[in-house]
Assembly symmetry: C2
Homo-oligomer: 191 residues x 2
């Protein structure tokens, strides 16, 4: 059963970036507390690695916002997705593909992105990987089946807040909870 999964890392106080738009130590769980380098699938450890691998293996398409895409360019034209990626942006550019099976298509509407990603993913899942506005617009529109939060054990006190875009009450079921030294992983499905 194909799922649309909103998947993102936050601080305890719900920030996806700190003041000054710094990521800080939020993603320590992806790199086992070391400085970010290399492939996240080989850098993480323990339950963090298991959760990352499950996520990589189960996804058949990715949705991201323009700013996350711009970070992706930091992967030197060798993005580690290996699946069709759909980028939400107010200024679409021409679609293109890279050598490793990754492709990028640019869309202005969240609902269109979800429809296209569902088709492209086949029987695999659609992973909505951020940023904050992309995640919340898809959740708020009722287009997400699950929310996977990776909560770093720190308060930031400011920055870009994940949940600013939520306009209504939405109930979930808690399906799985895990802890590592670097994060609390809480998986929810929309009820």
């Amino acid at each position: 059963m194909q799922r649309v999964i909103a998947d993102i890392t936050t601080s305890i106080d719900g920030f996806v970036m700190g003041p000054g738009e710094q990521l800080g130590r939020l993603h320590d769980w992806v790199f086992a507390g070391r400085d970010p380098e290399g492939d996240p699938r080989t850098a993480a450890e323990g339950i963090d690695a298991e959760i990352l691998t499950d996520s990589f293996d189960s996804r058949g398409a990715v949705i991201m916002g323009r700013r996350v895409f711009e970070f992706t360019n930091g992967w030197n034209d060798d993005p580690p997705y290996g699946v069709p990626c759909f980028v939400l942006t107010s200024a679409p550019r021409e679609a293109y593909s890279t050598a490793n099976g990754t492709s990028f298509e640019f869309l202005t509407e969240a609902s269109t992105a979800v429809t296209r990603a569902r088709e492209a993913a086949g029987d695999k899942d659609v992973s909505v990987m951020g940023g904050a506005r992309t995640i919340t617009s898809i959740i708020d529109a009722g287009l997400a089946d699950e929310l996977h939060l990776h909560i770093a054990p720190r308060l930031l006190g400011g920055g870009i807040h994940l949940f600013d875009g939520i306009s209504r009450e939405i109930a979930f079921e808690i399906t799985r909870v895990e802890k590592s030294p670097f994060a609390t992983h809480v998986f929810y499905s929309v009820t």
Copy 2:
């Protein structure tokens, strides 16, 4: 070893009350999903009951804000604390005691409340039970040793936000994570 524990229930998006200052279903974990009535220690079930009982048994004093105290008056002069309670308020009134070992003292300064509560608690813990401003002022001032969050599985999209009062980055260790049908319980200690 005596601890000052900030202990509060929030939504996934960090609200302690919803729009219109409604509690809604946030505290379902205290009442096993039923309508609130009677003693929380006998209404909760499973891991929720275990966590509540541990909290009641380990605390020797309570700190709360004025508004939580006003809710307390709803307990018909038979508050279920059984320990000295310290109420943070800008308008202190005269201290008083009730029949069951509960007493109320009114203070204007968080640091004074923590000092008095630590003395009154003996070798037991101090529980800071809210509201949002009381919790965050004590955490932000570095006066809390632990943060116990009970996160109801729902987004509210508005209301009174717990973490508005945090002004700096604060790192924690994740010490315990539990799930029930009604809440994710995440216990942190300040590092």
